[in-house]
Amino acid sequence: MSDRNNPFDPTNFDPFAMWREWFGRSEQQWSQGLSEMLKDERVAGSLGKEAQKAMLMQRMFAEVSERYLAYMNMPSRSDIEKLGERIGRLEDSIGSLQVEIAQLRGRAGSPGDGGHATPRRPARTRKPPAAG
């Protein structure tokens, strides 16, 4: 019987599947090897400096492109981010309103329910199943 998950089965020969199998088996070793290399303080130090430079470059590039985009009447990434932040603030306000409405409903519906909107609360009497 052929096993369709076994790429080495001659009835199911699939070189790409064999390559995937080999990649999957080797991945841990590669990841471990690269991680070991990255743990070296000198490598980490130089990578850190490169990352820092890349961050500054990105910042400078963003500032330049922002001016060009403004010139072309187009929104920049920071404009979109600002918009996202405004939406976030609105969402937060909606969250607060939801809580207040739920509390008002709770008080109107069932006093002493901790101001909760859920109509019925289950009894807090559950016991753990007896140990078998």
């Binding site: 998950n5 599947a17 995937r20 199998e21 990649f23 999957g24 991945e27 590669w30 990841s31 690269l34 991680s35 990255l38 743990k39 070296d40 303080e41 980490a44 130090g45 990578l47 850190g48 400096k49 990352a51 820092q52 961050m55 500054l56 910042r59 932040e85 976030g88 603030r89 937060d92 969250g95 607060s96 939801q98 809580v99 739920a102 901790g114 101001g115 909760h116 909107a117 859920t118 609360r121 289950p122 009894a123 807090r124 009497t125 559950r126 016991k127 753990p128 199943p129």
Partner: protein, 363 residues
């Protein structure tokens, strides 16, 4: 009767084949984590819930009970600061929260939301000395119970430990942590990359305010550099296993959905936790108070994963020794960091182990 059944069978086969082709095309052409694949997984984090407290970006959710009776002690879950909380409620059948509800627990969750630039100065003190205490109070008020079981995953577990250690009189009935790091010497790669000579945390925070989600994601991926392509190829091998593919794509969607790390707390984590290893040394102070996990006396459980490359066992194994609880236990389970809470292994191992431990202590 045979004809409709057979036609139904053929139509199901056709639909499965179509789904398979869609997944293959998406994975091969665009890579996992794209919008096309994300849409395929459906909505995540959909267990019905109500917001019972909102403060800034933080929301305290109460999940609607699914049983006629619940255990007396409510469960309060503290989510991580750098990931979306829906990893604990991925989808029906793959949700720790849904499982707890079905076992009769009354579940609350603190979701920290997505920080904005205006939150760049938020510090760990804000979470541990202000927001978590507020949430605990609200759970007490909402449930009518005097105490809570506190659960935390990863950095959420660390926040729960810091809170419990700094509030020895807090109404914590039980404390459960999942994959919670406490010893930065066990986080060898992160510690080297974030060392003073390699990384300028101040410059990062000055430049961005909050640490960008992309940076967090890239850093976590570098802990296992070839893990993502290997995962994608493994997905192609199991493309006819619809459950496996869907579950895997849900993980991929979550993994590509990090949130920025608030600047102030990030600097504390780098300087005090990673570089200084102050929690283990007993020299970490928040709000002028020294953090001493020995002051935690609530029953304590730590669930850790054997092959966790994000929180390696070397970084988490000390927690059970550090807490002062007499009733304490550590359970090491097979699997990785994410699989611990939401993988197939979680469903078979972690969830039942948690239920068994917590149920007896929740009456």
């Amino acid at each position: 009767m045979a004809a409709p059944a057979s036609s139904h069978h053929r139509s199901t086969e056709r639909s499965t084949e179509r789904s398979r082709r869609e997944v293959l095309r998406a994975v091969e052409q665009r890579g996992v984590g794209t919008e096309a694949v994300a849409e395929w997984t459906g909505a995540l984090g959909t267990t019905p819930k109500d917001v019972v407290l909102a403060h800034g970006t933080m929301k305290l959710f109460h999940y609607r009970p699914l049983t006629d009776s619940v255990y007396r002690v409510p469960v309060l879950i503290v989510a991580s600061l750098v990931n979306r909380s829906y990893i604990l409620d991925l989808a029906p059948g793959q949700s720790l929260i849904e499982f707890l509800l079905r076992q009769g627990f009354d579940v609350y969750l603190i979701d920290w939301g997505v920080p904005r630039r205006e939150h760049r100065d938020t510090r760990l003190e804000d979470y541990v000395l202000d927001l978590i205490p507020r949430c605990v109070e609200r759970v007490q008020e909402d449930s009518g119970e005097p105490d809570v079981s506190l659960l935390g995953y990863c950095v959420g577990g660390l926040l729960a430990v810091l809170y419990a250690a700094l509030h020895p009189q807090a109404p914590v009935k039980n404390l459960v942590c999942f994959a919670t790091p406490v010893n930065s010497d066990g986080l060898v790669s992160l510690k080297t990359w974030m060392s003073e000579s390699a990384f300028d945390a101040d410059a990062m925070v000055r430049l961005h305010g909050n640490v960008p989600a992309d940076f967090i994601q890239d850093t976590l991926r570098m802990l296992r550099p070839f893990g993502k392509p290997a995962g994608q190829l493994a997905l192609l091998d199991k493309v006819d296993d619809e459950d496996f593919v869907t579950s895997n794509l849900r993980f991929a969607k979550w993994e590509s959905d990090n949130v920025p790390f608030v600047g102030g707390a990030f600097k504390q984590m780098v300087e005090d936790f990673l570089r200084g290893n102050k929690l283990l040394k007993g020299t970490w102070r928040l709000g002028g108070h020294r953090i001493d996990p020995k002051k935690i006396h609530a029953p304590f459980l730590h669930l850790v994963a054997q092959s966790d490359h994000i929180t390696p066992y070397e970084s988490s194994q000390d927690l059970v020794k550090m807490v002062g609880s007499k009733d304490k236990q550590e359970i090491v389970l097979k699997g990785g960091h994410v699989g611990l809470v939401a993988g197939r292994g979680a469903i078979k191992q972690m969830w039942p182990a948690l239920e068994q431990w917590l149920a007896r202590r929740s009456v």
